[in-house]
Symmetry: C2
Subunit: 341 residues, 2 copies
Amino acid sequence: MSVITIKDVAARAGVSAKTVSRVINGEAHVRPELRERVERVVAELDYRPNAFARSLSSSRSYLLGLFIDDPVSGYAADVQHGALMRCRERSYHLVVEPVDLGGANWAGQVRSSIAALRLDGAIIAPPICDEAALTALFAEAGLPMVLVAPSSKAPASGSVSMDDRSAAREMTDYLLGLGHRRIAFIQGPESHRSSARREDGFREAMVTAGIAVDESTVLRGDFTFRAGLELGERLLAGPARPTAIFAANDDMALGALITAMKLGIAVPEALSICGFDDSASSRAAWPQLTTIRQPKAEMAGAAVDILVNPQFRKQAGGAQSHLLLPHELIVRGSTASGPGA
Amino acid sequence: MSVITIKDVAARAGVSAKTVSRVINGEAHVRPELRERVERVVAELDYRPNAFARSLSSSRSYLLGLFIDDPVSGYAADVQHGALMRCRERSYHLVVEPVDLGGANWAGQVRSSIAALRLDGAIIAPPICDEAALTALFAEAGLPMVLVAPSSKAPASGSVSMDDRSAAREMTDYLLGLGHRRIAFIQGPESHRSSARREDGFREAMVTAGIAVDESTVLRGDFTFRAGLELGERLLAGPARPTAIFAANDDMALGALITAMKLGIAVPEALSICGFDDSASSRAAWPQLTTIRQPKAEMAGAAVDILVNPQFRKQAGGAQSHLLLPHELIVRGSTASGPGA
DNA sequence: ACCGTTTTTGACATCGATGTCAAATCACAC
DNA sequence: GTGTGATTTGACATCGATGTCAAAAACGGT
């Protein structure tokens, strides 16, 4: 027998298919004795329910969709990994769907996934979780969705975030505590709202410390390494250069770090640099980058939990669940006492 | 009407469900006139067939599995992206399944995926594509599989690879052409067979050039950045240090690069360094890394094509398809003329 | 021992598509 | 106009699970 069905199990255990189904799904109303017998047969035959048949008859698909803008980024990889692992624990599966908002027919693609796969829920990664046109598609289909680090929780049945503002504030406070006063900030692209929150945190800390932010040292990048290189050059070439650079993500911080090396500025002795993300490359640089650890995998895992939780099965419009997960300031070699210390 | 079924389409077009099914699947034996009528209604109603019902009745699932050791690596991300895009073109979906060979019950996990999802095919990434215990699982289930860069094509219905040996040889020839003679090689872990082929290519080039390889400068790492740091130190601290370092992957090359900087050795003036992969971080370093571009996304895409191709639907044991995709030597700033030039 | 409740169990219909096979239609030759 | 064979079409069974609901069994109290 190549494929084992529920009937095989039922026959062998001497019960009906329905009873086997009950056991499998952990429903009540099965005598412990029978339950045990069925479980033994299931184990013996190594039976695995056919996911398709299952989702055809129930309305559940046991499938979650992860919608991502740029599936190649390290950020995406971490989020995906976190979601994947939690799905596995919960006996769900994950389908990754890239969404290219620049592309021609992205809406059609997304609709197709929703309709054809009958997803049980969607996890939407930043920055596209802030795209109203996209979230509307899910709302329209009545599909529960959880947004990862969104700028507004409004349309979703849930969200998982970290406190970007506080994290940035902590980082800035840390730099201030090291004696730095001229601190430059490299901001991310406008499409990433969380980057704006990081800037808020930075400014908040500066204001609280009674230090005026020099607007010429607050620059906007696009989260790429290259931007870090260029903006770093701009910041460091001038006469009154900053003693610390805080970039809104690691890639840009790394760019700035490389620029500093090129210009012969010693890091961290003459210049402190810090990033945000705790990306893999932040450890693959020298000196290693002081940064903020984003709980990416944890956020994704929590998103899975929210979607798997029965109360969100159907987007009743009622229950919502919003989680805030803790971040962590990770001090490595790229920061040191500033001139004021 | 929230969800549109084939019956809705049939009713509206005034034909039977079976005829609609025929049109959808592009089968023969439908009068052009009817076909057109049905197509119009499909478009009108924006009908999408339910993937589950479809795979329950046919034996196809329209699902491909991507089995990966470490889904967080940049390598995995590229492979996944390539597979994802091609799947989309072919109206397939991709399920990513991490396989932790170190974990307790990986075989059970894999069996579960195979049985529950009724995958149409599997793509197995390196290095686990060389794991006989794993490939046996698929063979046992009669599931067609394509191996990515395997060391042996034997058990699969297909494979996609690049020529690691030739690529490494080209790189070495390039270094030799720059005048380098003392070239060190940092090898990858034993579990990655392709790394061994890179070493072969390196040695081949050296031998052909009539240069004896100094065995004390052929070191084994584990593909991590940290290994590059440490082995780089070992290579560069000694008295007769090499003028070029060729690492079997970019991460280790980057580690060596950082070490050189720490030691105050100018790259590329006093030392050339090159890697293998063309990973994202190879561009995020300074100087940027000379490396070999692996056609990762292309290989994954080709793997999808092989599996989708009807002749491999059932692993008849007959047809096999093995592809060799071209690589590319990418010269960037980390290499320059050696002392002999 | 009997009756009313509650719990346990299974028969059967169902989800939405495709496979099978026979019926209906068409094309052509006589 | 009819017979033959090829083509087109649809009725019905099927895939493998779960939902519904009624029958059967177990329980509790008198």
